[in-house]
Symmetry: C2
């Protein structure tokens, strides 16, 4: 099975698609650009959701739900939002079907045309701020700290499973505050939540920073982001947190009476991560044998495989496997016994490697006699034979080790592929082999656009931590406040 996967070196993009399809994470549907997230992929998403949702609630947020549809006129209310935001949206124009004359098909009923077209939400700032207008009168109503788990639609022309699809799942936080300081603090706090989630759960080290004007979200004053490096040397924006200033409050006339009774516009943030993170997870860690999943988000942490000949041996092995399973489950580990009798164990081993199950336990005749079990870890593809006694303690520690090791490996990779570059010539050659390039830039959109046009590299972010030494722009020689992060990106 694993043999059919194209190697990363041969064709990274094809390797990625092979993994998504063969591991059963997702597939394309009959609807252009819309994917089906299969049970294994969806469980991964559920695990990610559960961790994020807890972090959102621990920082004081509640979930709510806002309409799927947005009146067309709303999109035009915030000037920059309408200018800058992609207009590739699904537009609902009618609300009824009818039978065709021959009764054998359905067609759109021309009499059921909507007075105003509805847009399937590409993001919900407009409909939410129109709602917040009724929720907020006084400073006592603030802050409003809502998050929504939802589907959104952006009519992408070139789609790739998880990375860029017409419909995708995400969460979007939308908060309202009495002061600029509080809103900025919130935007930065949620950036921190994303960084921590990427690091502690997805085992992905990310750079936190702020976007340049040209990469900013349409309608934001500042867009904060986390940027991850994939194994092919391309960057992937893994989450954004926007300080929206008073832009949406002004567009939708949302004001509050402050403690002194003076009416002011409300300050806003919005922040989101999506099923794109699954793409990031795959491209950050997986290898030519299949997925490599961090144990903390893996749909299945341990697979137990009895190796046997004949019914009697299988029955004995099964008893031992059930004992192992019970002990692991009690330790809070997700575990499955695979005793399918129509597949050879070699096939099963390859399958669990493909699926990225962090630990595989195999139990053969000799193990039964010796009270041992074979323990294989997915991240290093190494095996050892250990006593079954106390195996739950060992596996628990091993899962932590694997989680840490996957992170350490990704961090090492990123460090080895992050370069300080001072000349534009070096930049142009260096960018060809990928990685993050830390270089000085004069802060102008013109230089940024020139670099992008000539090298396909964009400024991923202006880091908000790390080296803040000023210097000179590698292109114009003009002063630069600090190095910024360049990369080619997804």
């Amino acid at each position: 099975m694993a043999k059919e996967i194209t190697s990363r070196a041969e064709n990274f993009s094809l390797w990625y698609n092979n993994l998504v399809l063969k591991a059963g994470l997702a597939e394309n549907s009959a609807v252009r650009g819309c994917m089906v997230i299969k049970p294994y992929g969806y469980t991964l998403w559920e695990n990610m959701q559960a961790a994020l949702d807890k972090m959102f609630k621990d920082t004081g947020h509640s979930n709510a739900y806002f309409p799927l549809f947005i009146p067309k006129s709303f999109l035009a209310k915030e000037a920059e939002h309408v200018d800058g935001f992609a207009k590739e949206c699904a537009v609902v124009t009618h609300y009824r079907l009818r039978n065709t004359a021959d009764g054998r098909d359905v067609e759109v009923d021309p009499d059921a045309r909507l007075e105003e077209e509805l847009i399937v939400r590409p993001t919900s700032e407009t409909i939410i701020w129109n709602t917040y207008k009724n929720w907020i009168q006084s400073y006592r109503d603030l802050p409003v700290l809502c998050n929504q788990w939802a589907n959104v639609v952006r009519w992408e022309m070139r789609t790739r499973l998880f990375l860029r699809t017409a419909e995708f799942l995400w969460q979007e936080g939308h908060t309202a505050h009495a002061t600029r300081e509080e809103a900025v603090e919130e935007a930065v706090r949620m950036l921190g939540v994303y960084e921590e989630f990427a690091r502690n759960w997805l085992a992905i080290p990310v750079i936190t920073g702020v976007k340049t004007i040209s990469e900013r979200f349409a309608g934001a004053v500042d867009t904060y982001c986390i940027e991850a490096l994939m194994q092919d040397g391309k960057a992937l924006q893994a989450g954004t947190s926007h300080f929206l200033g008073q832009n949406f409050a002004k567009a939708f006339d949302v004001k509050f009476a402050n403690k002194e009774g003076v009416s002011e516009h409300v300050w806003a943030t919005s922040w989101g991560v999506s099923t794109r993170l699954i793409g990031a997870l795959i491209m950050a860690h997986s290898d030519d044998s299949g997925l490599v999943l961090p144990p903390k988000v893996a749909p299945l942490q341990v697979a137990v495989i009895p190796i046997f000949k004949g019914e009697e041996e299988l029955n004995r092995a099964r008893i031992a496997c059930i004992d192992i399973k019970n002990r692991l489950q009690k330790a809070g580990i997700t575990v499955k016994i695979d005793d399918r009798d129509n597949l050879r164990s070699g096939f099963k081993f390859a399958e669990y490697e493909l699926l990225g199950v962090p630990v595989r336990l195999a139990l053969g005749t000799r193990d039964l006699e010796n009270g041992t079990v074979e323990v294989a870890r997915r991240d290093t593809l190494t095996k050892e034979t250990l006593p079954r006694e106390g195996i739950e303690t060992y596996v628990k520690t091993l899962l932590d080790d694997i989680q840490n090791n996957i992170y350490a490996k990704a961090l090492k990779f990123r460090d080895a592929n992050t370069f300080l570059v001072d000349s534009y010539d070096e930049f142009k050659s260096r960018i060809e082999s990928g990685g993050f390039i830390m270089a000085h830039w004069d802060g102008t959109p013109e230089t940024e656009a020139l670099i992008k046009a000539e090298t396909k590299a964009t400024i991923r972010c202006i880091p908000i931590e790390g080296d803040m030494t000023p210097g000179k722009c590698m292109v114009s020689g003009k002063p630069s406040a600090q190095r910024v992060v360049f990369a080619r990106n997804y």
Copy 2:
């Protein structure tokens, strides 16, 4: 606050709307028929989701996600589905907006017309069975047991918050089986899950049964349902589970090779409950003071209110409240201290009654001195003063008592409003005051339609448990296999 609620006796429908709005569960949005589910209402939904999701997983199901859009042609593939299913759907015809000539607004780009219109899913049988076609080849691929948590859209003309909205949230299970028996068993199993959920979590007693042909889901062979009785004597269909036979498998050509290698069409079920359950919950239990929520799904189980004069007293009370809070939280109870200093405690009491918080603890000066606390329960609106020592044990038991009492009350109400009726005259007068009427019916759609036209009562279901004694139809006098359940309904 509670004073502004219309009483149930005065106007049940207005009472319901008052509660939904004033308790902050949901509100209408700027988009016709689409609601905003506010944090308090959404938390209620999350608690319901968590319980159901666990029950689905415990019965072997996995979650997955299928596209929001359905190609128009898919809807016509299953003949009964297209004929019988409501055609009031949101239709996407275009995929792009553009700026208007003056640059100040957006309009639909006429060049971006879809070749085939897309329907926003009103339910997902068609797109899912089109997907299952690729998942199922052999009996070894069966059963497929998927569930999806999703939003769906049905363009309802007359909408009511939670009960009937254009967009609503639900779960839809879609399973595929090798045999008719297995599929029927699954449909009945999930009906059982719904019945148990309604009883154990929502504290709503329901009748389980099967729909008549005229009330059946379009495309189903049998529709099983749970039917609940609201306080105004009207019935509410709270969940359905469909045995779909091979209808969708035939429409989408989904076949599998059985153990003998013979190709057969797959057998199907689908089953769902929606945010409508929140409406059922409200109308089953709540009273003229506000919501009455079963503790097991209440967003907040206990509110702790310090009653104090001045800063010094407040500080002492706060310490005791925090102690109570910590002890309750350790016992797994959700609890909040309300020490807002701009509201009188009488106002707060009314607010928690409106919100349906099952238990309210109040701590005054005398309680501080005596080591006591005032315990008020929402379901009976009774109070008692108890020692603070061991209060967590008391409250834990009290929450169970409240849960049981709410169920017992609803069951008593239903029993008192369920009538055995044998003559059509009695039926016609009895139906005016509501309730479930158990009567004999000759099994024909004609008699069913006549009764509906003359009395607005429908057959809610043919019960699958209870009295199975045959008799004579109250209208035609023809033989009847068993009594069926009539009611006016939501």
